[in-house]
Amino acid sequence: MKRAKSSVSISAELKAFLESGVSVVVGTRDAELVPEITRAWGLLVSKDRKTLSLCVPLATSQKTLDNLAGNGQIAVCCSLPTSYKTVQLKGQCIETTDPRRADLRAVERHREAFGRLNDRIGFRRQRTETFWRRELETSPVLVNLRVVPELVFDQTPGPDAGSPL
């Protein structure tokens, strides 16, 4: 994997948003610039707020992991289901590891908060649980990604989506 250029510092407000019940997807690309999307869980911002970690299901993310091994380029998009407030972070994935216990606890917290928020907009808990199970039904194994964000964008839908934060 490549080294990150320079990390942005994540504000306390943004950290709270990223670690809430947001919907998280990860975008990568291969050597031919063909993109790949996978869903991620349990985003955690490091204590120094310069890196973040998140887990992806191994069974559904093989191409993503290959892409990251090849070039490390990553985009992480987080959207609040109740308001569509959306933030995108772009940077480098500097490490893929087995998740630590803290990462797995973050995944559980995220799963719970994501279900709670969706329930508020009429998407019942039972349905979010089914959605979650679909992610892991082939294999329960998760892989942890450590990411250095280099740029942060406001991705809330509208004419200004994509402007730097």
């Binding site: 919907s23 997807v25 990860v26 975008g27 990568t28 690309r29 031919e32 610039l33 063909v34 993109p35 790949e36 999307i37 996978t38 869903r39 069974a59 559904t60 070039n71 380029q73 990553i74 985009a75 992480v76 998009c77 959207s79 109740t82 308001s83 569509y84 407030k85 959306t86 995108q88 772009k90 907009i121 009429g122 349905r127 089914t130 959605f131 679909r134 992610e135 039904e137 082939t138 406001d154 991705q155 809330t156 839908p157 509208g158 004419p159 200004d160 989506a161 994509g162």
Partner: protein, 451 residues
Amino acid sequence: MIAPSPLTVPLENIAPCFEGILPSTICSCSREGTPNLTYLSIVHLLDPRHVGLSYQFFNKTRKNILENPMVQVVVISPETLYQYRLSLCYERTEMEGPTFDRMKSNLDAVASQTGMSHVFRLHGVDVYRVLDCRPVSSQAPAESFPKADPLPELEAFSERLAACADLDSLLDTALDALSTIFGIDHSFVMALDEDGTRLYTLASHGYAESGVGSEVWVGGGILGVAAERRVVVRTTSLAREMVFSRAVRSTVEHQGKETVLEKEIALPGLPNVQSQLVAPLVARDRLWGVLCLQSAVTGRFLAGDERLIQIAARHLAATMAMLARPDAMAPKAAPPRRTAERSPMSAVVKHYGSDDSIFIDDTYLIKGVAGRIFWKLVQSHARTGRVDFTNKEIRLDSDLKLPDIKDNLEARLILLRRRLEARCDFLRLISVGRGQFHMEVQRQLNLEQHL
């Protein structure tokens, strides 16, 4: 020419993924190799090998696809909650044509409802060729939704309509048949007023309040846009669309550009409506009104339902047009009537000339053309004791200054009759044969004319 290899999962097998019930995501990639993600409210299925995405704002995705046409979209099945990855290649942008018009009407209708007409503008439809469609999970079934044969239901619906002899029973029969035959429990019909500027509710089914007489402007909101453009407007997840729209509204407000925003219009009907289908009622190349179906369930009305309801709506409109013609059929014999017993109580009927509004004992009844007709009837009753009237004499009464659309008189009388049923328990209009009606008055009426 070599035929393209078949998709791992044919798009028609996962058709509900393209109804906008659950959001999708798109990932594009710049020439320099930086991926970019965006959430999408809907991916449109155009044909077995193409999908369309709305182009509203020039954003990073748009910049990227012009540099590198390869993108990936992930859609979610609202039925099974399995996800599917679509490998796409951007081909072209359509800025006119049937696909563009259909997407534009839907977008404009929701934008008008949410006061965002000046913000949501469809510049084009980005058309992508689908290179493959693969399930995210290897456990995902090969989803397939067999097409039900709608002909028996359509036949039963047309049979029920064919048995109607007047507009009044036609409207009730049609809405009841939509419920019993198609399982659509909440519906209403709005008629176009004489000058073509407003729609008023003429009949409804399945609501706590009938809403008869309520109005919307033609061109405003989902109902008004469907009427103005004579197109079907279908929404599958209204609550989510409203959240999406409010997110955009808040960013516009944040920019200090509130002047481009208009007021959000309250949706009539179900308070928790999720799915809605509005079909124009067109016959003899004239718009008669709209048929609106509602459901509290997301994804209740899908693409197949849209086609089915279009046929049902056209049949309803054609029958409305036929029954509303003054000379449609010879009058049938009037049934014998009982004489209403007059109570010793009296009531005050007020008429305000500025808008022809009518109040009975200070309770609002109706206004406009129907108010003018009602005032004429009660005046005649007060002067001479008359209780029997004909549509023809009303149509020919020059004092009433009726608009020059004669077919609307029947609709106005139905509106008046239904408003009286809902608001007044001592005064009724009873149809006693084609083109004739009886006014049953159980109290002494004291009339007051106001400016």
